[in-house]
């Protein structure tokens, strides 16, 4: 099960956070700082999974941005690693060449996309067209 998904940059600034299990607002900052520290400390040739408390962290770096997913022990880390990439590909498709700024300026839309993919910590949709369909329909209606 997925416990949380974070998008954090190299400076440790959180660009997006989504928790699938309630975490106190006060504790999030510390957790995020810990997580980033754990990922930044790792070298390129080391594997993309780190143990963190009861979870495993699966992280993937895109330019200066880290996407980190906290999962339970029984999750298949490599499938999550690829899920992250699928997510980025979806974002790329929607924003056509996505950048950290796109994510910042469209925080709501990124969340809407994520909501289509992961629900309650489970992967519910991975088909790119279907993930984007609701958001594209919304965009269309807003334009008209």
């Amino acid at each position: 099960m997925i416990k949380f998904l974070l998008m954090v940059n190299k400076q440790g600034q959180t660009r997006l956070s989504k928790y699938y299990e309630a975490v106190d607002l006060g504790k999030r900052a510390a957790l995020e700082a810990d997580v980033v520290r754990g990922c930044l400390a790792r070298r390129k040739e080391e594997c993309s999974f780190v143990e963190y408390k009861d979870y495993k962290l699966v992280y993937r770096q895109y330019a200066a941005l880290f996407i980190v997913v906290g999962v339970t022990e029984n999750e298949n880390e490599l499938s999550i690693y690829e899920l992250v990439h699928n997510f980025v590909e979806v974002l790329d498709k929607y924003f056509s060449r996505v950048s950290e700024l796109d994510i910042m300026f469209n925080l709501d839309k990124v969340h809407i996309i994520l909501d289509e993919m992961i629900l309650n910590g489970h992967i519910v949709e991975t088909n790119k067209n279907r993930i984007l369909a609701p958001l594209l329909a919304l965009d269309k209606m807003t334009e008209s």
């Binding site: 600034q13 959180t14 997006l16 956070s17 989504k18 309630a22 607002l25 999030r28 900052a29 040739e45 080391e46 594997c47 999974f49 780190v50 143990e51 009861d54 993937r60 895109y62 330019a63 941005l65 298949n76 880390e77 490599l78 499938s79 690693y81 690829e82 899920l83 990439h85 980025v88 590909e89 790329d92 924003f95 060449r97 996505v98 950048s99 950290e100 700024l101 796109d102 910042m104 300026f105 925080l107 709501d108 969340h111 809407i112 909501d115 289509e116 629900l119 309650n120 992967i123 519910v124 949709e125 991975t126 088909n127 279907r130 369909a133 609701p134 329909a137 919304l138 209606m141 807003t142």
Partner: protein, 1121 residues
Amino acid sequence: MSDVVEKTLTALPSLFDSQTGAAKISNRLKQLIKSITELTSKHDEESLIKQELSAMKEQVSAPSTSMKQMREIMVRSMYCEMLGYDASFSYIHAIKLAQQGGVMEKRVGYLAVSLFLSEGHELLLLLVNTVLKDLQSTNLIEACMALTVVAQVFPKDMIPAVLPLVEDKLSHPKEIIRRKAVLALYKFYLIAPNQVQHIHAKFRKALCDKDPGVMTSSLHIYLQLIQESPDAYKDLTGSFVTILKQVVGGKLPLDFNYHSVPAPWLQIQLLRILSLLGRDDQSTSELMYEVLDESLRRAEMNHNITYAILFECVKAVYTIHPKAELLEKAARCIGNFVLSPKINLKYLGLKALTYVVQHDAKLALQHQMTIIECLDHSDFTIKRETLELLFRITNAQNVSVIVEKMLDFLRSCSDEHTIIHLAGKVAELAEKFAPDNSWFIQTMNDVFSIGGDLLQQDISNNFLRLLAEGSESKEEDDQLRLYAVDSYLTLLNGDASHLPQRFIQVMSWVVGEYSHLQECVDQSEVIRLLMKLLEQKSVSSETRVWILSALTKISDGQTDLILELAESISSSQDTILRQQAHELRHLSLDSKLHEWVLPRGAAWDDMEVDSSLSFLDGFVSEALAAGAAPYKPPHQRQEELCEQRALNLEPYSFSLPVSLSSCSITDRHSPTLLSVSSGLSGNSTELSQKAGASTLILEGVKRVWGKDGYLPQKETAVTASPVDEPSAAVQPVGQQEAAERLEPQPEPSTQTNDKQQLASSLFVGLSTQSSTSLLGKSEAPPPRFRKKPRPHGSSLSSSSSSGTSEKSSSSRTSHNTTDSFLYGSLLEEEPAGFDHTPKSITANGLGQNKDVKEDRRTNTSQILGSDMVIVRPNTIQHNPSTSSDLTTLLPADLKDLPHSDVISLTSDPSLSVSSCRVFRDEALLLVIFISNSTETDIRDVAVQLNCDQLETVSLRGNIVDCLEGRSVSVCHYALLMDDPHTNVSFTGSVSYQIQPGHTNTLSFSGTLSTADFIRPLVVTTDEYGKLWLSLSHDVKQNLKLLTDAGDPLQTTLNALKDTLQLHIVDIIGSEGIVACRLLSGAPCLLHCRVNGSALAMWLRSPLPALPDCILYHCQRALAQH
């Protein structure tokens, strides 16, 4: 991968002017984001966000703010909350936005709600109306977003309000709506499984939906259901196999592919389901061999995602009933992973290997050199995973090498969580496989000094218990104890200032208890060492208590030293210490009493506890006669204290009117019983208020509840019983002191560089041990330290429950063939898979046909699985639709009693039998309805009910001469449970005649659980306290604490109350007391305390098996939440 994102922060300035993204965003949000990117310090961030928050507060309350602006404010609030600042003022506006905004605003409103409000937030109730409205909207997008938010957060109590609407959506023409409806139902199942019990058949329909997306969503529900009770869904194996076959065969539309692999995450999900179904079940496993083989074969492409599928496949192959050919392929797969130069694959290979060696340890042998390399790998994660693997293959021959490796790792590790985890494993291995005493004690010394105060309490508890209880041979035990004493004395002779508190506690207990075994050491020397410890500043007061207890035990004959010590401590500020000093002095002056109270080397089993404390009666009456206040239980004192608190300016004193030393004797086994003092000081508070003494000591005043529950018991038990149960030997220690770890010790042995040599020592014993382990785990060698069997066994209950599950599985497998045939035709008629073609109508027809059949099957499975809906008065109002017509047939005198749903037990063309459980106070009534489904009369209907474990009494109606067409006859049985069993199955038969002379019989069966026989026991806190004291059998367990809503203790207790009919007697602070009884018989008292994220529960009952049964059901109830 970096080509996906190539614009980075360096491109920032130009982007603000460009058109992308930023163009449409209004100024304020743009400004905020810009400022956020420019932040340099935490301080800047704080002032920026504070400013932002106050600006937003103003804006939201301004009437001129438009919905569009509101949307932007919501996004800004999201930013603030994301950075960790509270923006709760905007929550209500998020709900408003969802209610009133246009589509995009509405979506953002819903999004904000799902991000801001966690389950159980009270504002969520305000969302219900909006959701209802949107669910009924003709606008697909609105319905869609309403379903999305329902699947994310929704108040549990309001599920009935939206459930019918969501159910309707299951047959919506649009796939996305159906899909979201299934996901919403899944959410409902997670938070309130009882509410969706009646739509299980619809889940099956979703599984055969023509759209692959809808089918995929239903798999989440099935994974959950099958995890809970795999036996109930064996009939679906064929379907899952067919689906997987089609996915693997590329029958899905192309856009489901990810890097040319068809729906990989769906494949993984299906493989997980299959492995759950095939576990320990040969016939079910046989159905899936082919598709697993195909999956292994197909996944040859060189891409991460195929490896992820392979990993799941390998796990499935090793989980289900083994097949040599598949195992061989899977093993080769693992080999490829482990040897891969790609580090992520290597990790996955190690993880797979760790999983697999439980079934086939030989596989580790093949990769021993790789494992050795990984052990010295520079990557922490890889190292850690390798140790996990080694832990699994440890046996008596390689234990010392593996433990050495683990300790090495621990010494260089700084992560708290890893230390706790791994140190626990070392302790486990040491206990299981220790080659000799010296190694065992030395290893445990390492564990205690490295793990320090981070260690989990039960490690030291188990260790001390092992020493205390010993094995069969006293000689061996004494040798081990002696070794421990020697080792500790050596350690204490050195510099003890850096030792962790936990370790000092263990040492002092052992030395106190067993130092007399070592004849060549002078006891005064031991006393000197312990006293030296007491002088150290770093020793916590809790540890001092342990040390003092040890001193008390060995004080015999050393009066001078001891008196001096007692004198110095008796002026301590710490009441517990002071009390101990009193005891110490008293005992050392009276050696006869000492001998009686603390007999040296006495066996644990021979101790008797006088729990009623009858010997104190004389003392009490004397004290009362002398004018002492009568005893008041702590809660009463608490209440009085609360009442007085407002204006009570009198200081509390610690002068005790009763001489402590005369009545209290050190509890021999639990030096940390803080409760001793708090119980007494509770008394003293009251008394001293009258005395009006002048010192202000608040310590212990508020401690009404101690760590072990109700304090009066402890107070009295301690004063009364010098001998306590052995299980009390090591009491949980309170607050942990800050971690104080040892400097890494110098490596003891220099391992030669020869890896080959290491390999031979690491993997020794694997080949011989596991040569025939295809069929599961090979027999482990007997653990070295065998604990004595504990007297209370719950094996009876567990064996009976497993019996029923076997029965149910065998009855189900026969459905498989027809089922897979149906599925086969359903999907194979359409090679395109899931398109909207006219042909799908016929497919649908088939599907429905199948539904009808399945309906009946689900019904039977409901009886066999024990998770029936129990409709009790408090839940019935939420869910009136579940009670079927038959309940109206309940006799008038039973109608108002709480009762379960009516469940169909069995049926044939002429008769159908259903049952309903009615919960009467003194018995469980099983009401059996026999309905005649034909038009003709049925004669000589006789019902027979058998249940070995229950006492059954037929009350009425079990023989009917003539049952008219379309009529129903009701008979009931009163069932009594004398000995608690977790689950009890009953069987029965109905015999009847349609034509004279031809007797037909129809047999039925079902399961009842202890929960059916539990009734609330209504007592006051006072009575509870007394009852608690009169019982002595104690069972303790840590349970899950439900933290999803409100007060965790309250929520958890309510959840337990709802499923188990308990009576919550009282809740004080973080502790709660709960009572119930087995029908009108034996009571069971539950005492719960919140302990971090767990709920520590103590149970007492005169029936030894009852707490076990209740615990089982409590765990189940909480797991279902």
